[in-house]
């Protein structure tokens, strides 16, 4: 059933001198939002702190005692100047169904000479007109202090709920909202009742030996079962922890496995890279050589012309050399080419010519040089020009291949950052050890369960035996029946608490998922929210994977959204629907998340009180919310004094 804040009355509390804020609850069901507007410094946070102080005292505002300000700072300073011995009070009125709850806290400022003291004069809880004792306990039952962050929160703290682990306090707060502690208490109390009954059995059966003997045996067995069950429960908890560690290790191992295959891939790519580099070096060398030799290919036409010219010259030279050789032959043979004998005059001429030719070393040298030059030039002309197009193309491709390979290696190295082959080996060793530890725990649980089963059989036999023996005695028979009922009650409660935890988790999961789906900016990526056994949160992705928010680099906005969904889901699942008072809600959120969250507020089953600045709720958002807003209060100041805030309905 919804709990709603009906009114707040501040007297001399911080910036409020005498201020009553009434929240009109006579409204249509579809409206659930109240807005209190105030500029920064005008008293929004003082308002929230006033609520917290009234309910839970100073420690609710400043949990760290070292940071607690002096009490004097809570008193309105203008009022103190007028009347140094005055009272400061906050009165809250809540409504649940037809019941009205009024909580009052008053502190008096006492001045004696130069000394100023403070005394709490009233701290009361009034239920529908009747004062109740145990104010603290009654407040606890209405709005448990441990859950205060679930009812009264500011945007800055909300992220805490999306954390990887929760503190014991947070877990307790969550379980309290879900009604789990009372069933745990029932188990404890029933256990004590059983003990008490057994004690009485002991007393009345002391005169009857057989009954006494059976009772004692039964007691021993029950004690034994209790011990074994306690051990089993502890081992189950240990197993749970070991399983969490195993899962983490398993994940790490799978990642390391991936890393291992990535290492193999890196090796392969590095080999490819070195081949490509080698090929690239070779081809670059060829290109360099081709460019260096480019003048040869460029000038081959001109070179050919000269080669041809030299060739002609060589032929002439050869002819001259051939002529010399013929002269020699003619002189030696003393015979002309026509067959006649050479006469003296001719011989003399020939000898002169021959001597001339022979003395001309120049002719020989020129012939040799020309021949050599011609050979060289001919070879130059025949030098095939390289297929530069192919070479450049191949080089470009190799360069592309190299860049791709380098990038792939770089990416793989980034992916495997934090892993090395040794650490992978260690992870697998740890995983193996953890699996063994888990198996040992499981074996231990199996053994304990078998023992418990055997003991329970024995217990059942003895109970029947005792029942039979007890039936001869009225008192004993009655005790036997009580013991029987207490045992069964204990078993039912034990089963109920386990069911309750699982069931609540499922329900919160369902509510949280529904809300989260509406407010996330990535509804196409996420399927819902997973509530783990320790109430930490996971995100169910469309792919089926469940990831924790820390792992997938959630933005602060996404974390806050997730935490808000969880708190709202928890509130819905509790069936209590406590009021949600939000100070400067989501002021630092990105526009999409902000709009999504604010648009989801009308769907919450709770009274929502927004303490906001104009910036928190701009006109476009206010327009969307307008159909769901019951009232708008505005905090203003009388004059320019920061201790004179007043709140009026707009």
């Amino acid at each position: 059933m919804q709990i709603k804040l009906k009114s707040i009355h501040f007297q001399n509390w911080k910036c409020f001198q005498d201020q009553v804020i009434n929240f009109n609850l006579d409204t249509v069901v579809t409206k659930n939002i109240w807005v209190v507007f105030g500029d920064n410094g005008y008293g929004k946070t003082s308002l929230l702190q006033g609520i917290l102080w009234c309910l839970y005292g100073v420690k609710a505002i400043f949990p760290d005692t070292r940071q607690q300000p002096k009490f004097v700072t809570f008193f309105n300073s203008i009022a103190v100047k007028e009347n140094p011995s005055l009272e400061m009070s906050v009165i809250l009125t809540f409504k649940q169904g037809e019941e009205l709850y009024r909580i009052t806290r008053v502190v008096k400022r006492l001045v004696r000479g130069n000394n100023v003291n403070f005394k709490q004069t009233t701290f009361s809880f009034n239920k529908s007109g009747k004062e109740k004792p145990d104010t603290k306990e009654n407040i606890e039952s209405l709005l448990p202090e441990s859950c205060k962050e679930l009812f009264f929160f500011d945007g800055k703290k909300i992220e805490e709920y999306a954390k990887l682990t929760h503190s014991k306090e947070t877990r307790n707060a969550i379980e309290q909202v879900l009604g789990i502690p009372e069933i745990r208490n029932l188990i404890d109390d029933t256990k004590k009742v059983r003990k008490e009954i057994e004690q009485e059995f002991d007393n009345i059966s002391s005169t009857k030996n057989e009954l006494k003997k059976v009772s004692q045996e039964l007691n021993e067995i029950k004690d034994n079962i209790s011990i074994k069950e306690a051990t089993k429960n502890q081992t189950l908890q240990d197993l749970q922890q070991e399983r969490i560690i195993l899962n983490a290790l398993d994940k790490e191992a799978r990642q390391s496995d991936e890393a291992q295959s990535k290492f193999d891939e890196i090796n392969k790519l590095e080999k490819t890279e070195s081949i490509v580099i080698k090929d690239l070096e070779q081809i670059s060398e060829k290109i360099k050589t081709s460019f260096r030799k480019a003048p040869i290919y460029l000038l081959s036409g001109l070179v050919r012309e000269i080669a041809d010219e030299i060739h002609t010259k060589t032929l002439i030279n050869n002819k001259q050399l051939a002529d010399t050789s013929l002269l020699e032959k003619l002189i030696i043979n003393d015979e002309c080419v026509c067959g006649r004998c050479i006469d003296t005059e001719v011989r003399q001429y020939l000898e002169e010519q021959l001597e001339k030719a022979k003395n001309s070393r120049h002719l020989y040298k020129q012939a040799v040089d020309n021949q050599k030059l011609h050979t060289e030039l001919s070879m130059l002309c025949r030098t095939p020009s390289p297929d530069l197009e192919l070479l450049l193309l191949r080089r470009d491709r190799l360069e592309e291949d190299l860049t791709e390979t380098e990038q792939a290696i770089k990416k793989l190295k980034q992916d495997t950052d934090g892993f090395d082959r040794d650490s992978i080996k260690k992870i697998w060793q740890k995983l193996y050890q953890q699996e063994n530890a888990l198996k040992q725990k499981q074996d231990q649980i199996d053994r304990l369960e078998r023992d418990i089963e055997e003991l329970e059989e024995e217990q059942s036999k003895l109970q029947k035996q005792r029942k039979k023996l007890a039936s001869q005695n009225k008192e004993a028979a009655n005790l036997s029946r009580q013991s029987d009922i207490a045992d069964r009650l204990y078993q039912a409660a034990d089963e109920l608490v386990r069911w309750q935890i699982d069931n609540s988790r499922e329900i919160i999961e369902q509510y949280t998922s529904e809300i989260h789906q509406k407010i996330t900016n990535k509804p196409e990526e996420y399927k819902g929210v997973r509530i783990n056994q320790d109430y930490t949160l996971g995100i169910k992705q469309k792919s089926g994977d469940i990831v924790n928010p820390e792992e997938i680099n959630f933005s602060p906005g996404e974390k806050e959204t997730l935490a808000f969904a969880f708190i709202a889901g928890l509130n819905q699942a509790s069936g209590k629907a406590a009021p949600l008072v939000m100070d400067t809600p989501f002021g630092h959120l990105d526009p999409i998340h902000k709009k999504n969250i604010i648009n989801s507020l009308p769907e919450l089953p709770s009274q929502v009180i927004l303490l906001a600045t104009g910036e928190d709720l701009p006109q476009n958002i206010l327009d969307d919310l307008a159909p769901y807003i019951v009232q708008t209060h505005v905090i203003s100041r009388k004059g320019d004094n920061r201790f004179s805030s007043v709140i009026k309905i707009e």
């Binding site: 081709s290 460019f291 480019a294 010219e309 020009s385």
Partner: protein, 135 residues
Amino acid sequence: MKRIDITKTFRPTPEAREYAKWLKDKKIFERVIDGYLFAAAFAIKNNLDILPIPSKDRQHIVVNLLGLIDDDVRLSLEAAVYAIHKRSKKPQPTNSDELIEIISQYAEAGLIHLKQKWQGKVVNQIQDDIRKIVN
């Protein structure tokens, strides 16, 4: 046909040397001399106009020792200068220094032309252009 004395050096203008060095720095040619001689061959092949190089502008830093030039490249240039002079009926160089000077003049003219031609082009485009020039 005159041959080059390989103990001599080329002495380019600062502009020519700078551009030949840029070609080397961009890894288009492996060495400064390779770009320089390519420019000379390009200029000879295209019969670019050459001008005497003012001696006051000449670099005192040598492009490279001629001894490091491939023999076949050197021979091509020697033959090409001979051929082009013959074609245009210009007097042939009478010694190695003259020949080196002529090749230098062609290199200077070639570098000016190529610098203009390759203005704003990236390395791969220039190399592709060299491919077209050669083929």
